[in-house]
């Protein structure tokens, strides 16, 4: 069985593309990538 590990939330720069152009925002994503 996989034991649930405590994971950190990390701040990430996220790129957004709209019809008016691109920009980036800072969001929180869990560290599920580790």
């Amino acid at each position: 069985h996989v034991e649930a590990k405590p994971r950190k939330w990390e701040q990430k720069q996220v790129q957004i593309k709209t019809m008016e152009g691109e920009f980036s925002v800072t969001m929180w994503a869990s560290g599920a990538s580790d």
């Binding site: 994971r7 996220v14 790129q15 709209t18 019809m19 800072t26 969001m27 994503a29 869990s30």
Partner: protein, 454 residues
């Protein structure tokens, strides 16, 4: 919802859909975190209401050649099992276009996913004139908000993969003769549930289904090691006696401790003739008076359910690991208010353990020998789940947690009589969150169709 796994449409025909019940305020589904063996259970604590995701925008006119599909940001409003109710960003308190998706699918993406694929976000038609500056709106709404990890889709796909491969040999409890295990081959895998075919069964036989973590599955060589009755072709027995393994043999590293056993259990304290209470493997709605008939190696015991006529051949014995949560000390049912199915010839109302032990001359297995650990499982009565019907385990059905006794769950199949209920452990790999069948492309059985009286 498109599952991550593709199946033939015919296999999913008439699959039950929870969708009409999901928005009901009294509908409660057991959360994914209750099911340790379920896909994505290990990352589910980081999936929550209020999160922002990118999802297909179905509220749009016609799609252009340049952008054949349209996406927008949405907020998770509610989570029910694997299903999430989403609201497109910009709708504010307007719930008119809220919709349900499966979070265990390739339908939802972390914010930023579209930009990495060169897809612009396009606001829904209903609100396209609501703001002049969508860039500014999104910047304000998304800054500081939570989203999914960037590798979410990979995590979802990985978590659906079985550790077994098609064609592997293993030893499986014989569905027609539960006191023995038989050599079988993995024939099909759906959502980590294995369809195995016994080596000697007719071509048309549909085989046997169980989850890859099921205690009914064992590695090649297990029966010989623990001293269990094995049915196998002669060449299999001969090569194992020479210690020769094939590349197609499922070896111990693929199994969990209950499936493999351990020399640590060389002295379990159980001995032949001891009495106990046990879930009847052939009638899971009953917890019965039982007897230890044999003590095997590596922590296994053979028990017999005293409810049935004694079979001199031992064909009705069943193997339980001594730490199985499905066996209990004498008095367990009485102390928890559960009806105990008495031995053959005794009445339920009049059965008395002390008298029975005196009459039979047996001793009870000491309570200290049993697994009494109760995990913080989170199940409560009324929760909806999807559960395999273990009397026909190719079927996964809609069900409700009817009763919780420590770590033991009484699972009721919606629309069916109480006699079809199943006592299952809270860590049973045969129960799943609402939406599991859809995610793994397994048919979900609904309630029986009621025919109107004529």
């Amino acid at each position: 919802t498109i599952p991550l796994v593709r199946r033939k449409p015919s296999e999913l025909a008439n699959s039950f859909s929870w969708d009409s019940q999901l928005s009901d305020r009294y509908f409660v589904a057991a959360p994914v975190t209750c099911f340790k063996h379920a896909p994505m259970a290990d990352i589910w604590e980081n999936i929550m209401v209020g999160m922002k995701v990118e999802v297909e925008n179905t509220d749009c006119d016609n799609v252009s050649d340049a952008f054949p599909d349209s996406f927008w940001v949405a907020t998770v409003m509610k989570i029910v099992g694997y299903k999430a109710q989403l609201r497109y960003e910009g709708f504010g308190a307007n719930d008119s276009k809220d919709f349900w998706v499966s979070l265990c699918s390739n339908q939802v993406h972390p914010v930023g996913w579209c930009a990495t694929r060169g897809k612009p976000l396009i606001p829904p038609k209903t609100i396209e004139d609501k703001y002049n500056d969508w860039k500014d709106f999104l910047r304000k709404r998304l800054t500081g908000a939570r989203t999914l990890p960037s590798n979410f889709s990979n995590k979802a796909s990985e978590s659906l993969k079985s550790r077994f491969d098609l064609g592997l040999n293993l030893e499986v409890v014989d569905k027609n003769h539960i006191s023995r295990v038989k050599v079988a081959v993995v024939h099909k895998i759906v959502g980590k549930r294995l369809n195995v075919k016994y080596y000697d069964m007719p071509q048309e036989d549909m085989g046997f289904w169980c989850h890859e973590d099921s205690p009914l599955l064992h590695p090649v060589g297990w029966a010989k090691k623990v001293g269990h009755h094995l049915v196998a072709p002669i060449h299999y027995v001969e090569r194992l006696s020479q210690g020769i393994f094939d590349d197609d043999d499922a070896t111990e590293d693929l199994f969990n401790p209950i499936q493999v056993g351990s020399p640590d259990y060389s002295s379990t304290g159980f001995s032949t003739g001891m009495k106990l209470e046990a879930i009847d493997p052939l009638n899971l709605s009953s917890i019965c008076v039982a007897t230890v008939m044999d003590v095997l190696n590596y922590g296994y015991i053979m028990i017999r359910i005293d409810t049935y006529d004694s079979d001199a051949t031992g064909a009705d014995w069943f193997c339980y690991h001594v730490k199985s949560p499905c066996i209990f000390p004498v008095g367990f049912c009485q102390s928890h208010g559960i009806p105990l199915t008495p031995p053959k010839g005794y009445g339920q109302a009049t059965f008395d353990w002390n008298k029975y032990l005196l009459e039979t001359g047996n001793i009870p297995a000491d309570p200290s020998l049993f697994n009494t650990y109760v995990p913080l499982h989170g199940f409560v009565p009324g929760m909806k789940i999807e559960a395999a019907d273990l009397m026909d385990p190719r079927l996964v059905c809609i069900a409700t947690i009817d009763k919780v006794v420590g770590r033991l769950l009484k699972v009721h199949f919606d629309g069916w009589d109480e006699e079809f209920d199943q006592w299952l452990d809270c860590e049973s790999s045969d129960i799943y969150p609402v939406g599991w069948c859809q995610s793994v492309a397994h048919k979900l059985e609904g309630p029986p169709i009621q025919t109107a009286p004529t």
